[in-house]
C-alpha cells in the first residue's frame, strides 16, 4: 500500500526569552534592518517621491475676436495696420487699413470642445503697395478643467516677412501650451485671466508689440502658435487684396502638474513595499536559521497540543 500525503498544516514553533538577552537585541536589530533599508533603497534608486506628473486634456479654447494686424507695404517701412481696438485704430490715422475677416470655429468630433479655427483675412492694397511682412496677433480664451481649473487669456502671434512681395500667406498650425513650472493638482488657477492687450488704454505704449510680447512671455503658462511651415505665395495681381488664411487647431495637450499628497504617497508606498518584501523574506530565513539552530539561546516551546487541564 503506497502512502500519500493526505493533509498538511504548518506548525508554529515558539521561542521564548527574557528582555535582556542577546536574542532580544538580535530581533530588534533584524526588525530595524528589515524595515528601514527598503526605504533607503527605494529612495536612493531615485523617483521615490514623484514631483511632476502629466495628464492629457483637450483645452476649451475660444477665439476672443481680438486681432491686431501690421503689414509692411514697402521696403522703406511704410505699413498699414488694423486692430479690433478702437483706440489703436484712432491712433493709426492714415495707416489704418481695414481688412475683411471671416472667422469660423468648428467642433469636428462633436464633443463640445472646439477643435479648429479658420481665419480668412483679405487686406485691400493700393496700387503702389505690396506686402513684404505680416504680423498678426490673435487672442484666445484658454481653459483646462481636469486637474486644476485653469482659466487664462492667451495669444497667438504670427510673423512672417519676405524680401519678395507676397499675394498670400497660409498658416496651418497648432496652438500649443507652454509651461515653465507644473500646475497645482487642484484649485483654481486664474492669475493669467487678464487681457493680454489692454484694449481700454488710450496710450500708444499699450499696443507696443515689445511690451505685449514681453509681458506675455513672462508668464508661466503661455500658448504659442506652432506653425513650422508658413506658405508665402508670391505673385499678387494688381488690385487684388493680400490674403492671409490661417488654420489653427486646438490639440490635446500633455500638461504637467505637481501631484497631490495622496498620489505621492501611493506611488512611494508601492515602491517601498515591493522592496520590503525581499527584505522580509531574507530576514525571515536568517531568523529561522538562528532560532532553529539555537545560535542564540532561547527556550523553544515544544510543538504539540497543550494539555487541556
Amino acid at each position: 500500500m503506497a502512502f500519500y500525503e493526505v493533509y498538511s498544516h504548518p506548525a508554529l514553533l515558539r521561542y521564548k526569552t527574557s528582555v535582556c538577552t542577546k536574542a532580544t537585541v538580535f530581533v530588534v536589530v533584524v526588525l530595524c534592518l528589515t524595515y528601514i533599508p527598503p526605504l533607503l533603497v527605494a529612495y536612493r534608486s531615485q523617483g521615490f517621491w514623484i514631483k511632476r506628473s502629466t495628464y492629457e486634456e483637450q483645452p476649451v479654447v475660444r477665439f476672443q475676436y481680438q486681432t491686431l494686424l501690421v503689414a509692411a507695404t514697402s521696403p522703406q517701412g511704410d505699413y498699414v495696420a488694423w486692430s479690433t481696438f478702437p483706440y489703436l485704430n484712432n491712433m493709426l490715422g492714415a495707416n489704418l487699413r481695414i481688412p475683411s475677416i471671416s472667422v469660423r470655429e468648428e467642433d469636428q468630433n462633436q464633443d463640445g470642445k472646439l477643435d479648429f479655427l479658420t481665419l480668412q483675412l483679405q487686406l485691400p492694397l493700393k496700387p503702389e503697395e505690396q506686402v513684404y511682412s505680416v504680423q498678426l496677433l490673435l487672442t484666445f480664451s484658454y481653459q483646462l478643467f481636469r486637474m486644476s481649473t485653469v482659466v487664462m487669456q492667451s495669444l497667438a502671434y504670427v510673423q512672417h516677412s519676405s524680401s519678395v512681395p507676397g499675394a498670400k500667406l497660409f498658416i496651418s498650425g497648432d496652438l500649443r501650451l507652454q509651461q515653465r513650472t507644473p500646475l497645482p493638482h487642484r484649485g483654481l488657477y486664474n492669475i493669467y485671466n487678464v487681457s493680454v492687450i489692454d484694449g481700454s488704454s488710450p496710450f500708444a505704449s499699450a499696443y507696443d508689440l515689445d511690451n505685449i510680447i514681453g509681458s506675455y512671455q513672462d508668464r508661466n503658462l503661455t500658448t504659442v502658435l506652432s506653425c513650422p511651415m508658413p506658405v508665402w505665395t508670391v505673385g499678387r495681381a494688381a488690385g487684388s487684396p493680400f490674403q492671409l488664411n490661417a488654420e489653427i487647431r486646438y490639440p490635446i495637450e500633455v500638461i504637467s502638474y505637481r501631484p497631490g499628497f495622496w498620489e505621492t504617497i501611493k506611488f512611494a508606498w508601492i515602491q517601498y513595499v515591493s522592496v520590503l518584501l525581499i527584505f522580509l523574506w531574507v530576514f525571515e530565513r536568517i531568523q529561522r536559521f538562528v532560532f532553529q539552530n539555537q545560535v542564540l539561546t532561547t527556550v523553544p516551546i515544544p510543538v504539540g497540543k497543550p494539555h487541556l487541564s
Binding site: Y65, G77, T84, P86, S141, P202, A204, S205
Partner: protein, 617 residues
C-alpha cells in the same frame, strides 16, 4: 408679388443635425434665380433681400415639395412684438425621420439636382446620371439594432441610359450591444434649445455669444468729457488741453506703437514719466512747412487745464529753451526774444530747417493733482532727404512743486540698483562735488556710425551699475603719426569729458561723507616711448552688504586699466592700417558667499537628503 418664405429642411443622416435655411424672395423677378454665367465682381454684388418671415411655419416638412403655407406678405410685415415667443423663432419644428423623404443633396428647389438620386424632381433626368452623389440615406443612429436605409443605385440600360433603382431596407446591426427600442426619443438628438422670447433673449444672447467681433465696450470715444468729483488729475489720467475756442482736447505726446512710427494721437499720462523716440516718414518738399508735427508751434501753443473739471484754470506751455542744432550736430542755445520765425522752412529742395528734433516737457504739479506750470525745451535742427525717416525724441517729466528746482536722483537707497548710473564726483577745494544730472557721470564711449576715434563729438553712454559692457572706435594709422598728441586726444576720448575721481560706494552716498567715496585707482603712467592707449577698462568690485533678505550693493573698489601698445602700431594692425580702440567696464562681485545663518531650515541630524520626507514637511 410672389414673396414667399420657404424653409428647407436638410437632415444629416448620422447626427440628425437640423439646419434651417430661410430663403426669402421679395420681388417677382427674383423668383427665378439668375443662372446666367455673368461673373459678378466681388465688390459690387448687392443683396436686396428683405426679411419677411412668416409667423406660421409649415406644420409638415418635406424636402422636395414646398408647402404653400406662407402668408400673403405683400406689405412688409411690421412685427408688433408679441410677448412671447419672438416672431422669428416661432414653434420648434419636428424633425423628419422617414427615410424616403430625406435627401441631403437636394439643393435646388423645384429643379433636378444632377446626380442626386434621391431628388424627386429628377424623373427624366435620371437617364443622364452617371452616379449617385448620395447612395444611401439612413435614419437613426448606428447603435440601433435595426434601422431603415434608403439606398439608391443606378443601372445602365441596354440603350446606354441610366435607370434608378431605389430601395428601402432594414439594416440590422449584429453588435451584441445594440439598442433594440428607444423610448427616449431625444437621446440621439440635440436637446431642443430654449425658445428666445422677449424676456429671455438677453440672457440667451449672453450665454451663447461670449466673444464676437465688435464686442469692445468702449467705442474709442475720447473720454475727455468725463468729469469727476476730484478736481485734480490722478496718476495715469489723460491731461486735458484747451483749444483756441475753448473746446477740450487731449494732451498728446507722440510715441511709437506697433511700429517705430510716431503715433501723434497718443496721450501723455499724468505723473508717468515717459521718453520715446519714434520715426517719421515725410516727403521733404511737401511736408517741410506744412506738417504740424515738425513745427515748434505744435508743441508750444498748447494750453492745459490745471485740473479735470470744467472751470479749472488754464496753464499755458512756457518755452524754457530752444536749442538750435546745426547740420553737423553742434548745438547752440537760442536767446528767445520772440522776434524770430522758427517755423520749418525749406532751404533748398533737399534740406529743411527749424525742424523739431527733440521735445522735453517738464510739468510741475501740486499735491492736489493740479498742473502748476508746464515748460517745454526744444531742439530744432535740419533734416535732409538723405536722413529720412526723421527721428524725433519726446520726453515728459513730472516734478512736484516746492521741492527744489530738480530733485536729485539717487541710484539706489542705499545700495545701488542694477541699471542705474554710477554716482561719480570729483574733488575740489570745497570737498567732493558732483553734477546734478544723473547722466553726467562715469561714461563709456558709445559706438558711432563713422567709428573714428578722432572725429567729431563723441557720443557717450553712462556706466550703469551691474551691466558689463564694451564699445569702441577705430583709429587709422595715418592719424597716429604725432603720437604724443594722439595719446592725449585718445585718452580724453576714452575717458570722456569731466572725468571724475571718485565713485560713490552707495547709490545715495552724501557728499559730506568723504569715506563713502571710492577713489578711482589708476596705475597708469604714460610710457616713455611713443605709446597710445588701446583700451580703457574699468574694473568695479562690488559686494553685497547688509541682511540676507535685502542685500545692498556697495562698490568697494574701482580700478581703471589702460592698455598701451608695447610693439609698433603696424604690427598690431596686421597690415590693415586700422586699429580698434575699446572701452569696457566689468562689475566683479567680491562678496563672500552668503551663509544662511538665521533662516536655517530644521535639519535632521541623520544626514537625510532634504526631500526625503518631501510630502510631509
Amino acid at each position: 408679388m410672389a414673396a414667399s418664405a420657404v424653409a428647407f429642411w436638410h437632415t444629416s443622416s448620422l447626427f440628425s443635425l437640423f439646419l434651417l435655411f430661410p430663403v426669402v424672395t421679395a420681388n417677382e423677378n427674383t423668383t427665378s434665380y439668375n443662372f446666367n454665367t455673368t461673373v459678378f465682381g466681388e465688390q459690387n454684388v448687392t443683396f436686396n433681400f428683405t426679411d419677411n418671415y412668416t409667423t406660421t411655419p409649415p406644420t409638415e416638412f418635406d424636402s422636395t415639395t414646398p408647402t404653400p403655407s406662407s402668408s400673403s406678405t405683400d406689405e412688409p410685415v411690421q412685427p408688433t412684438l408679441p410677448t412671447e415667443p419672438l416672431p422669428v423663432s416661432g414653434r420648434l419644428l419636428t424633425p423628419v425621420t422617414s427615410v424616403d423623404r430625406l435627401c441631403p443633396c437636394d439643393e435646388h428647389k423645384d429643379v433636378c439636382d444632377i446626380n442626386c438620386c434621391c431628388d424627386r424632381e429628377c424623373n427624366e433626368e435620371v437617364a443622364l446620371f452617371t452616379g449617385c452623389s448620395v447612395d444611401a440615406v439612413s435614419s437613426g443612429n448606428k447603435q440601433l439594432c435595426s434601422r431603415d436605409v434608403a439606398s439608391y443605385a443606378l443601372r445602365t440600360t441596354i440603350d446606354g441610359y441610366s435607370e434608378l433603382q431605389s430601395s428601402i431596407q432594414k439594416e440590422t446591426n449584429y453588435d451584441i450591444l445594440c439598442i433594440q427600442t428607444q423610448n427616449r426619443v431625444d437621446g440621439f438628438s440635440h436637446p431642443s434649445p430654449a425658445l428666445p422670447t422677449d424676456s429671455n433673449f438677453d440672457s440667451l444672447f449672453k450665454q451663447f455669444t461670449s466673444f464676437l467681433f465688435g464686442s469692445e465696450e468702449n467705442s474709442g470715444q475720447a473720454s475727455t468729457a468725463e468729469l469727476q468729483a476730484s478736481s485734480g488729475y490722478q496718476y495715469g489720467d489723460v491731461m486735458v488741453t484747451a483749444g483756441v475756442s475753448g473746446q477740450r482736447g487731449m494732451f498728446w505726446l507722440p510715441a511709437p506703437s506697433v511700429t517705430a512710427d510716431c503715433m501723434d494721437s497718443s496721450p501723455a499720462a499724468f505723473l508717468k514719466d515717459q521718453s520715446s523716440r519714434c520715426s517719421r516718414n515725410v516727403v521733404l518738399e511737401q511736408d517741410c512747412s506744412t506738417l504740424l508735427a515738425l513745427s515748434m508751434g505744435t508743441y508750444t501753443s498748447i494750453q492745459l487745464f490745471a485740473g479735470k473739471n470744467k472751470d479749472a484754470a488754464v496753464v499755458p506751455v512756457e518755452v524754457a529753451s530752444v536749442v538750435l542744432q546745426s547740420v553737423d550736430g553742434t548745438q547752440t542755445e537760442l536767446q528767445i526774444s520772440g522776434g524770430e520765425n522758427l517755423s520749418p522752412a525749406l532751404l533748398n529742395p533737399t534740406l529743411c530747417a527749424n525742424v523739431v528734433l527733440k521735445v522735453a516737457y517738464v510739468i510741475k504739479y501740486n499735491p492736489a493733482g493740479e498742473i502748476v506750470n508746464v515748460a517745454v525745451s526744444l531742439v530744432l535742427g535740419f533734416f535732409s532727404e538723405a536722413a529720412l525717416p526723421l527721428e524725433q525724441e519726446f520726453h515728459i517729466t513730472f516734478i512736484q512743486e516746492n521741492v527744489g528746482e530738480v530733485a536729485i536722483h539717487y541710484s539706489g537707497n542705499p545700495g545701488y540698483v542694477v541699471g542705474l548710473p554710477l554716482v561719480s564726483a570729483s574733488r575740489t577745494a570745497d570737498g567732493i562735488v558732483r553734477s546734478i544730472d544723473p547722466r553726467d557721470t562715469l561714461s563709456l564711449l558709445h559706438s558711432a556710425e563713422d567709428q573714428d576715434c578722432l572725429q567729431g563729438p563723441q557720443q557717450r553712454s553712462p556706466v550703469l551699475f551691474g551691466l558689463d559692457s564694451v564699445s569702441g572706435c577705430t583709429l587709422r594709422l595715418e592719424d597716429a603719426a604725432n603720437c604724443s598728441l594722439v595719446f592725449q586726444v585718445l585718452l580724453d576720448v576714452l575717458r570722456g569729458p569731466n572725468y571724475p575721481q571718485y565713485v560713490a560706494s552707495f547709490g545715495n552716498s552724501p557728499l559730506d561723507y568723504p569715506l563713502d567715496w571710492v577713489p578711482i585707482k589708476n596705475d597708469f603712467s604714460p610710457g616713455e616711448s611713443c605709446s597710445i592707449p588701446l583700451s580703457l577698462h574699468l574694473e568695479i568690485e562690488w559686494t553685497k552688504y547688509g541682511s540676507l533678505v535685502n542685500p545692498q550693493a556697495q562698490i568697494v573698489s574701482i580700478k581703471e586699466v589702460i592698455q598701451t601698445n608695447t610693439t609698433s602700431l603696424e604690427m598690431l594692425t596686421g597690415g590693415s592700417s586700422v586699429l580698434s580702440i575699446s572701452s569696457s567696464v566689468a562689475f566683479i562681485p567680491v562678496s563672500a558667499a552668503a551663509l544662511p545663518g538665521y533662516r536655517a531650515m530644521p535639519t535632521i541630524d541623520a544626514k537625510l537628503p532634504f526631500d526625503f520626507f518631501f510630502p510631509f514637511v
